[in-house]
């Protein structure tokens, strides 16, 4: 058999779209199960309080109310599961104490959603208020403890040179960095920066409906989840069932961004209620509930220091930070800083000391939000490099290039002991500067400044770690063991050639807009030659896919894609035997092209897949001893993560009188290795940029001193609108990875990881002539205006 060279990289219209543009897509709240009941939750109005009583009598007597549950009813199920269960685990319903505004205290199940909500309003909860710990630095001081049963509010600490309990044994870089600071020729800069809390805001609120069948002893669960298999595992573990007794389906999912990469109490509780009541039970969150009971992201403060020489050599970088976990540990809460740790030195070969303390506060849980730890780490690093460049009077692009890992140094073992697979960082930066005509931009900026206009250029480089990932990471809790899934981060691809020659592909992902049906059909079409239109891709279903981990961390193509590629090779191996039999040729002489297999050199004489399938399913017509059927399954466990990278540039103008920031241009060069569908890749970058720019410019989860979220609606929490953003200018370089057979790295988060610091660097550059050195995100006009006033005072 001859393997065809991969011809991926084509643009095809998405398979997903005909349903979605005509209103025929089916999301969880569009599905109705016969006889379903509706759940609603009583939520705490206080950030920290003891519950002295819950009076449900009036609510229970209302027509249409079927059941009301409190902690007493569900305590036996245990707390919500988490992968790294340090800190405080979340009770399914508040058990005597509430620890953040919005925490669920009681669940009502009723015939309609309106009745359930009316009953929620009729439940009286008496609280004894306690002093909440809202500010993360206050939490870190341990003056007031959030949880009585924890020794400290600091529940975990991550250090880049010592993150794996001695398995990777790296020297403490601090003495070397200290020595560099003492050098006569060194320059030291320091910054204190906030990376504010964010609300993910998937436009589809989370929704789940569960049905327990006592005869089958099985749950059917439809959930707007990025991780259907993990949800099945967690529910199975919670209810004492095998994971295969929980059938989870994630149909169309209306955006995730990490918010749906979690198992939530409501998902457990609707299962519980269905088991109790013998009817399906549904919960769909409101937008306000989404803001307080679904996970939030980011929420770090850090002080950074950089030391280097006047000619731009960086001699050391230090970061000491605090990350806000919120009140309770959920899925990957405490692991998020680890993702930042791995890219703490970015694209640079520089001594790096990096330590982040994880603290609990009386706020909702934080967890993975697009980028998850990596945007925070890159934000701090790239802001600090700009400050260093400004201090020594060197162009920020030159400082970066001077300290990059060079293209001949890969695989490059970084400051955390991990090996970066492949990279060519200077190439991406050079392309960016070329496309931007950087020299002309600098002149434009100077000319504008000469007129008194505040124009700035922001630059950032980033490297990302994604495509999770190596199963060995489960040893430190970065896996799925605590959901009862020892399968770690492996990808799954099942390729079945049906008796009519069409193909069904089943993958272990849980996409929420990433176009997997299209991309995987391209892969299978490319490998087997089956018509694109005759390939159907299924995902998000735990009984269809033998295993799966889900869609997050820019992993799907690199892992489940690779598994599918491997499954295709197995199908081809068998098809080649059948084709050789039919063509009376040697197996080695069979090649695959459009339409199906053929003998090398005669691509016009193709045996159709329906002919191959016909033999495969009627084995007496095939070669002696052939096993019947034509399908293969592969599980792919990569040896390393993948490390995409890129360089971004923003040109902005700040209105001196109003503080308003206008984005004049935004350019990005991203390298995600080979691109399967450039249209989809670009779309992922666009969306990622919007979220990074959204953080830089607009978004912040603001709490008052009592722990009340002041930004719980979309008017207080402004995500970018079309009028806020420019058209983006994208370019790419292509540096394939050797970690998987398709050479793909992942692109889901790159735009976000590269953009927030690019924007802030641009605004600080614009304000630098006034003496401004730092403005914290979000760069809303009032804050920028104030920075201008302060600088001029």
């Amino acid at each position: 058999m001859t393997t065809t060279t991969s011809a991926l990289g084509g643009v095809v219209r998405r398979k997903e779209d005909p349903a979605l543009i005509q209103g025929h897509g089916v999301y969880v709240d569009d599905l109705k199960l016969s006889g379903e009941l509706q759940a609603a939750f009583v939520r705490s109005p206080l950030a920290r309080a003891d519950i002295s009583s819950i009076d449900t009598a009036e609510a229970a007597a209302m027509d249409g109310v079927v059941a009301i549950y409190t902690a007493d009813d569900v305590r036996h199920l245990g707390d919500l599961l988490a992968q790294v269960p340090v800190g405080k685990l979340r009770p399914l319903l508040a058990d005597g104490r509430v620890n953040h505004v919005g925490e669920a205290v009681a669940m009502v199940v009723a015939e309609t959603r309106a009745i359930a909500q009316d009953a929620v309003d009729a439940i009286l909860v008496d609280y004894e208020p306690l002093t909440p710990v809202v500010d993360m630095m206050e939490a870190a001081s341990d003056r007031t403890k959030v949880h009585d049963d924890l020794d400290s509010n600091i529940v975990f600490s991550w250090a880049a040179h010592d993150w794996w309990g001695g398995v990777i044994d790296l020297p403490d870089p601090r003495p070397g960095i200290e020595a560099a600071k003492q050098r006569d020729d060194s320059v030291v800069v320091s910054l204190e920066m906030k990376n504010q809390r964010l609300i993910p805001v998937a436009i589809e609120p989370r929704s789940v409906v569960a049905s327990w069948n006592p005869g089958y002893a099985r749950f059917e669960v439809y959930s707007s989840s990025q991780i259907p298999h993990a949800l099945a595992g967690a529910l199975g573990k919670t209810f004492g069932l095998a994971s295969n007794a929980v059938h989870v389906v994630a149909p169309e999912v209306g955006g995730g961004f990490g918010a749906k990469l979690n198992v939530y109490c409501d998902e457990v509780l609707v299962c519980f209620a269905s088991q109790q009541l013998g009817r399906p039970v549904r919960f769909t969150e409101t937008r306000r509930e989404s803001a307080v009971s679904t996970i939030q992201g980011r929420g770090w403060v850090a002080t950074t220091t950089m030391v280097g020489t006047r000619d731009g050599e960086i001699l050391g970088y230090e970061l000491e930070g605090v990350a806000d976990m919120g009140a309770y540990t959920q899925n990957f809460t405490v692991v998020i800083p680890l993702l930042g740790l791995w890219v703490s030195a970015g694209q640079y070969d520089i001594p790096t000391y990096w330590k982040v303390d994880c603290v609990v506060t009386n706020k909702p849980t934080t967890d993975a939000y697009r980028g998850a730890g990596r945007p925070e780490a890159l934000y701090y690093l790239e802001r600090t490099i700009d400050a260093f460049a400004r201090e020594i009077g060197m162009d920020p692009t030159e400082v970066r290039k001077k300290n990059y890992w060079q293209s001949d140094q890969f695989p490059a073992t970084n400051n955390t002991g991990l090996a970066i697979d492949t990279g060519d960082y200077a190439k991406a930066m050079d392309l960016l500067l070329d496309q931007a005509d950087y020299a002309a931009l600098l002149e434009e900026k100077q000319a504008a400044q000469a007129e008194g206009r505040l124009v700035g250029i922001g630059i950032s480089s980033y490297v990302e770690i994604c495509g999770f990932g190596p199963s060995v990471l489960s040893e430190i809790g970065f896996g799925w063991n605590n959901y009862g899934l020892p399968s770690s981060f492996s990808g799954s691809g099942l390729v079945r050639v049906n008796p009519d020659g069409s193909a069904t592909v089943v993958i272990g992902t849980g996409p929420s807009g990433q176009g997997h049906e299209t991309t995987w059909a391209q892969v299978v079409h490319d490998q087997l030659g089956i018509d694109y239109d005759r390939i159907m891709v299924h995902h998000g279903d735990t009984t269809e896919s033998p295993m799966g981990i889900g869609t997050f961390g820019s992993r799907s193509a690199a892992v489940d894609g690779a598994a599918t590629y491997e499954a295709c090779q197995k199908v081809k191996a068998k098809a080649a035997v059948i084709a050789a039999h039919l063509l009376e040729a040697a197996v080695e002489d069979i090649a695959f092209g459009p339409g199906g297999p053929h003998v090398v050199g005669t691509p016009g004489h193709v045996i159709g897949w329906h002919e191959i399938a016909d033999v495969a399913y009627r084995p007496h017509t095939g070669p002696d001893g052939m096993e019947a059927g034509l399908e293969a399954h592969a599980v792919f466990s990569p040896g390393n993560a993948t490390w995409p990278f890129g360089a971004h540039l923003a040109l902005v103008e700040v209105d001196r009188d109003t503080g308003d920031v206008e984005i004049l241009r935004y350019m990005a060069v991203d390298d995600c290795g080979n691109r399967i569908n450039p249209m989809i890749v670009d779309g992922q970058i666009h969306g990622g940029l919007a979220q990074g720019i959204g953080q830089a410019m607009f978004e912040e989860a603001v709490y008052d001193e009592t722990g009340n979220l002041l930004t719980g609606s979309l008017v207080d929490y402004p995500i970018p609108t079309a009028g806020d953003l420019p058209s983006f200018e994208l370019e790419h370089t292509t540096t394939p990875t050797d970690v998987n057979p398709m050479g793909v790295k992942g692109i889901g988060e790159a735009g976000t990881i590269g953009s927030a610091q690019t924007m802030v660097n641009a605004v600080v550059d614009a304000l630098a002539p006034l003496g401004v050195t730092n403005v914290d995100m979000p760069l809303r006009p009032q804050k920028v205006w104030q920075a201008i006033q302060d600088a001029q005072a």
Partner: protein, 166 residues
């Protein structure tokens, strides 16, 4: 209370609670689930439908307020199996990812192009400001609407960026 209206060209009626929102009447009584609920407060626009030809957020309208109205939802936008140019544009120019905001966005864009079939990029961006998308960064939504506008004017749409770039 009884309400009657025309939905996608068909006369429909039903009994509703006074507090029933039009979006819930469409989704739950008429089983037209293409109109989505994103915030129930008028900010996100996922529930946008046409009422008497005007794009309207159906979570801000009570079902009884739409009594007698002519309502078009995303399910009724294509005619005789032919996609509306805006639907075609979103498909051709990758104007959607998760698809949740898409029905509302398409209805809003269709209304915008009814008013002005040759909008500038700026007019498109401001014309869809009331509809939030968290996936696309709006870049390809703008391209999709430009595609549709060209089609509606009887012109050849601008080539896609990915072919220009390659």
């Amino acid at each position: 209370m009884d309400v009657s209206m025309t939905v996608n060209g068909k006369a429909v009626s039903g009994g509703v609670e006074p507090r029933t929102l039009l979006v819930h009447f469409l989704r739950e009584d008429q089983l037209l689930t293409g109109t989505h609920v994103g915030c129930e407060s008028g900010y996100c626009g996922a529930c946008t439908v046409h009422i008497d030809g005007v794009p309207t957020k159906s979570c801000m309208v009570l079902a009884v307020q739409a009594d007698g109205a002519d309502v078009t939802t995303i399910e009724g936008l294509a005619s005789n199996g032919d996609l509306h140019p805006v639907q075609e544009g979103f498909w051709e120019r990758h104007g959607l990812q998760c698809g949740y905001c898409t029905p509302g966005m398409i209805m809003q864009a269709a209304g915008l192009l009814e008013e002005n079939d040759n909008p500038s990029e700026d007019e498109i961006r401001h014309g869809i400001e009331g509809n939030l998308c968290r996936c696309t960064g709006y870049h390809n939504i703008v391209k999709s609407i430009e595609y549709a506008a060209a089609k509606m004017r009887g012109e050849t749409p601008p080539a896609p960026e990915w072919e220009v770039a390659e």
